[in-house]
Subunit: 326 residues, 2 copies
């Protein structure tokens, strides 16, 4: 076992941070080291409840994560917070970049808050977040919260790596639009109506009922669990236990049905095939003969002169049958 | 030029139907013939306005397509109707399977209505629909309507092959839920509120205003076009010209900005890369050494014993470096 792996397994926070920096690196030699590191700690992963948290800007995602994180620490959990935000380098909706947003949680020894990796495609960011999640598990965190900025495909990516997907909404008129914009109702295992406080409390009741109705129209992800709606006020730290009870109930229902194990196995399998697909394309792009063919044919395809599948077949031949290159 | 290609270019409907059957076949030799056929007719494709039509069950998709198709025929267009419905083999929401649903349109010489291809993954169904669309264009149809059953990813697939994506909704309370369920607001170039007749006419006005507001909150797909809302009654054949004017206005705006050409070029490029990716995986699965490695490692990945990217790398090595197989 390498020293870094041993330190991570030992719960060393600085080692964990270094490990995550390693998996986030795009350098080839770092990538190889990261692969070794992950392989070393793999047997000690899988122990956390993995929760995705999504919602439109302004619904109070970081306030909820702070409140939920502190609640979990109070009940003897250790919480890691990660983020998937492919838009951050473009200055879109940077999340977790400003640690002050979760000031108290960040200062607690039982919590580990990691800003979103900078730059990269959604696929790259998602891969690094998955790997960071595994390292957090190896380091002994038993809850991993993965925040996502609500821009469509990143929710799908996060849902594919967590056990429980939580959709956070605010009370009132704009809510159905938040949902429409993202279309993530069918990904949600739990809908949390936040800001159920003050003037908004009554409206929150209506909003919760609306979402409960909406959930009935959505095809359930599994027969083992019917998505439900919970209300809370992250600001006043009320109902946070209900949110967590919802996550736990979901976790128990899935575990009892053998569904959690199946879901994770499927997620891992799909991850392998998508990595394989990405790696193959990457290798093809670095193959001089294939990439030259691809560039030439891509232009013909873009101009509508050649059917895309025919071009794909020719590029593939240039890549896999070097004999044909002559 | 092969005989079949010549007949299709000549507008022979039975030849077109045979050509589509060929591209829908999964037999390897048929696939090779289909590739040749497409290559032969490719120069004569691209001439149609390509319109995707989506909406929840019950909003009146086939009634609208019938009304729109007949309106287009009356104004000297030739209309082909295709469908993307990966769920049909599983008895989900089979569309266009029952031709009687568009009885009058089906009987018209100026129209060509093709049921959804049976069976297959979304990727496969989408590919065959794209190819059928190209054959319809080669055969002289200047409007191609592609219907999709509203189940999430198929809308994304259809949006990736059309010029204009039309979201059909019904008036009244359930509409925001239709939108939420599918999350396709941000794909829509045009929202059509159908059933704007009888008792529903007043409600249709409110619904149209709601969608107009919602569209303002969605990031536009292009600066060349601001998505708009149109009302119609497909049943009473009222407002159908407004729907088509919307499609034309969209087409003109995109063409004027050079955006249509760019969009189609991008769609074709992305199609090539996704085909390439699918073909590579397919070839890998048929490679004895690589597929044996994949099967073995997939089990380890599913059991959480091996990180997915590490497994992917090993499978890739077994595939591309035959020397390592020993």
């Amino acid at each position: 076992l390498s020293e870094l792996a041993a330190q991570i397994l030992d719960g060393d926070r600085r080692a964990l941070a270094r490990g995550i920096t390693l998996v986030e690196s795009t350098r080839d030699d770092h990538q190889a080291e990261a692969d070794d590191l992950l392989t070393e700690v793999m047997a000690r992963t899988g122990g956390a409840t993995r929760v995705g948290i999504s919602g439109a800007p302004g619904v109070g995602k970081s306030t909820l994560i702070e409140a939920l994180g502190l609640h979990l620490i109070d009940t003897s959990h250790r919480v890691a917070v990660l983020a998937v935000d492919p838009s951050s380098p473009r200055g879109g909706g940077s999340i977790l970049g400003d640690k002050t947003r979760m000031g108290e949680l960040t200062r607690r020894a039982e919590a580990f808050v990691r800003p979103s990796p900078t730059a990269g495609t959604l696929g790259g960011v998602a891969r690094r977040t998955r790997e960071a999640m595994l390292l957090c598990e190896a380091s002994g965190f038993d809850v991993v919260l993965i925040e996502t900025v609500g821009v469509g495909q990143s929710e799908v990516a996060v849902e594919a790596m967590v056990d429980c997907f939580l959709l956070l909404v605010a009370p009132g008129g704009g809510d159905e639009l938040q949902g429409i914009k993202r279309g993530i109702m069918e990904l949600a295992d739990l809908v949390v109506v936040n800001k159920s406080d003050g003037d908004l409390e009554a409206i929150a009741g209506t909003t919760a009922a609306d979402y409960a109705n909406a959930l009935h129209l959505v095809r359930p992800k599994t027969t083992a669990w019917e998505p439900r709606v919970v209300r809370c006020s992250a600001l006043e730290a009320r109902g946070i236990d209900d949110v967590w009870h919802g996550v736990e109930a979901h976790h128990d229902a899935l575990t009892g049905a053998g569904e959690l194990e199946r879901r994770r196995a499927n997620q891992s399998r799909e991850w392998m095939w998508s990595e394989l697909s990405a790696s193959m394309l990457d290798r093809l792009r670095h193959d001089p003969a294939a990439s030259a063919t691809a560039e030439r044919l891509e232009a013909e395809v873009a101009a509508g002169k050649l059917p895309a599948p025919v071009a794909a077949e020719q590029v593939l031949r240039a890549f896999t049958d070097p004999g044909d290159r002559a």
